[in-house]
Amino acid sequence: MKMDRRSFLSFVIGGAAGTTLSPLPWKLTDDLAIWSQNWPWTPVPEKGEVSYANTTCMLCPGGCGITVRKVGDRAVKIEGTKGHPVNNGGICILGLSGLQLLYGPTRVPSPLRRTGERGENRWQKVSWDEALAWVAEKLADLRGKRLSHTVACISGTDGGTVPRLMERFLTAFGSPNFIRTPSMRDSYEMTLHLMQGAQASIGFDIENADFIVSFGSGILEGWGSPVRMFRANSVWKENGVKVVQIEPRLSNTAAKSDKWLPIHPGTEGALALGLAHVILKESLYRKDFVGTHTSGFDRWSKEVVEEWTPEQVETVTGIDKSTIVDLAKSFANAKKPLAICGRGKGNTAGGIGEFMAVHSLNALMGNINRKGGVWAVPGSDHIHWPEVEMDAVASAGMQQTRIDGAGTDKFMHARHLLHRVPEMINAGDPSLVQALFVLDANPYYTLSDKALLKKAWAKIPFILSFSSFMDETAQNADLILPNHMYLERYEDVPYAEGFNKPFIGLAKPVVSPQFDTLHTGDAILRLAKALGDPVEKAFPWEDYEGCLDDTFGDQWEELQEIGYRVESDFEPGSRNTAFETASRKFEFIPEESKDAAKNVMVKAEGEEPAYPLVLIPYDSPRLASGFIGDPPFMIKTVPDTVLKENDLLVEVHPKTAQSLGISEGKPAVLKTPKGEARVRVHLFEGIMPGLVAMPTGLGHQAYDGYLAGKGINFNDLIGPVEDEVSGLDAAWGIRAKLSRV
């Protein structure tokens, strides 16, 4: 057949038309789509039998009950446990993200020994035997040199069996330096101790209060036990309970409150005394309580009436005096008014003067140890271990002054003063800390004044982290002995923050350990064994589970089954017995801290005009700012007005920004006496002019690529401000300068 031009074109065009009209191209497109949608790298989750396991969340001190949904041996979802006394089915954003921590790339897979320089993140895997032997050798060496007291432990919690085992280890070894990380727990414990003579945790019967005045407490940011507070807030809404939020920034709590009173930061204590002034002047306080159960009232009220008139308080706080009078009257006229403090999530200690001023408001209303009020909740009493028999080395070590100075004449009532430690280390030569243990804490990230901290860190010859995760502290340690993470281990949770009943939760393993980790309780026991007597004989238990079994005795099985123990019918002591001060009364002016009332305000570091603005931190429920960093799910929920790519946005009032010539989203340099950072600016009408607000919980250098390098760590820009009376770190902000670039 001859192929001419005409037949060739007919063939091609006809063929194309024929193919187009046939189903072939459609079929091919469809197949292509299906094929591209079935690429084998899109995971197909394995099926399996569904089961549920209950345990206690340990990501914050909230003590919530969680239920883990499992498919086969995989944990697939965390939910709140229905009927749990603390959170009754609710769960917070961090608790929900727990499985990303369990299975995530931030886990420390096995004991790791540093090979490069500190912080270089170069590690060598070592076996547990090798690692523990190495630690034991270091410790034995220090003990041999009579330097046992130079071993210190920074712990995120106390009271539970694991921190108590650690404390016991240090005691038997010969060191008084068990130091808890700072939080409002410190200041509230001290308030209860000074004013009520109680060794107790603070509890708030918030569900039954009918008027709440919050001096900057982030009720909806994570203060107290977060889910409980969220639930209480909803109950308040249903019952028409009024909430007044006093803070310089329109936070979530302020936005949800019935009244937001912007205040000059750091003057909250003055406002509390201003309210007290009005209540005293108008004679609105509960005379029955004040008359019979308090001491020092006359002197205190005279001072308050003289010094804290609404006019003076208006000048200090910036709140209108008529507003002060109205607020004081509404507060006093409520049946069960409640005043609370502890800024934001309560991750900082705060000044004792401020806490006592706020607590005095509760005392004026007789709202202590009664329904809807503030309760002194006795600490958990489940641990009754035999006294440690100390040898000469241990006794000598225990008689040494604590590194942080807590309990000395100067800081008689303070139990833990971690912020003082870097300074003390830098002052000594050689370092007063020769070996540092870190347990459930991330001080390398959370401690302020980074220059001082880094200098001190470099002086500590040996740093051991027990972290399950590669956090900043672990990354800058010499050895990591990874604990099982909370979903893999047993541990008692000795309280739920701010809960008004004695409570113990139990964390139970819901999955088997995913990596070559070891329970820190067991690590401590094995270390004690390796050291031999007298340390060894302080630990008569085979392993940690044996210790738990022994500690809880016949209640162990029940605790395992129910998962928590709560004294639901707990009533705080009757007033005649509740106050254990020398006078057996509530002390308005405790003898030991006479000056606290004069010290209700603590000044921020830095001076004008070099630093014309004030930088304050703000907490967000979507940003974990404690020892755990944000898992990927949480960081995903952070708005683009807080974080844009890797840039952090600070909040500034439009007028302030205008005066600096900075507009929305523009870069700027933020400088404080402690540091400098490049930020971007977000204009926000909800912040007082003259302030700069920065979110906490960002600026991590460790963890994974989903978190590291995003934003700025607020702790890099601030330093501690020591409260003269208590020694606690009372810093609430720092003076700053913002300039355009």
Partner: protein, 267 residues
Amino acid sequence: MKNEQAKKYGMVIDLDKCTGCGACMVACMAENNVPFKKDETNKLDSITWMRVFQLTNGKSFPETDICYIPRPCMHCEGEHGHSPCVSVCPATATDYSQQTGIVSQIYTRCFGCRYCMAACPYHARYFNWWDPVWPNGMEKYLNPNVSPRMRGVVEKCSFCFHRYQRAMEKAFLEGRRELEEEEYQTACTQACPAGAIVFGDLNNEKHKIHQIVNPDPAHRGRPKNPKAFRLLERLGTNPKVYYLSSREWVRRAGDNYLPHEGSGKGH
């Protein structure tokens, strides 16, 4: 389907109680295998079936006020199931169920034209620009009841339809044809620590949602409760997600108004 009255599952979110904490967003991501990237600050390509927006009253300090508003898929009914997205889908990859009132999304049918995204007035739909990648080991937490999506398809909130399926299977096994209210609840409803979300059958007078919203069948389910409103009511999308607020400015922010229009309610 003889014995079965048609359901109309819906949601009511109390904005007075919502604290903006974001737990609903994460509960949804965890339940529905929603992927995540290293940088999620470009919110246009950040997949969040449930997303909490922030509203502001636009006033200056200190009168300024903010309100958080969670936005799942509204599961619009439109008129007789003609929701905006369903009407435009050329692949029938999204459909309105007359049995449940749920707008489905069938990933294997979707070929990624994104007409539905253009049609959705609530920005409730998201496109997978990339294949989902979980960091090594994290696939372990994936939920087998929800298939992970691949690159090139659109996804959105399903009212946790797989939970409905599981609940129905269980009911059928037990010889029942009807579900109790608490047997089918979405992940966000269950998680909300403030108890701000109520989920249930709008057609069922015994369900809390019906009692709270009091939908008016004569006006396409517009709420009779004066505190309740729907987003962009005036578009006629007939959404099944309702909001409650005691604040006038919040209710007003739920729709677009010309300056001279007074009411915070739709017309």
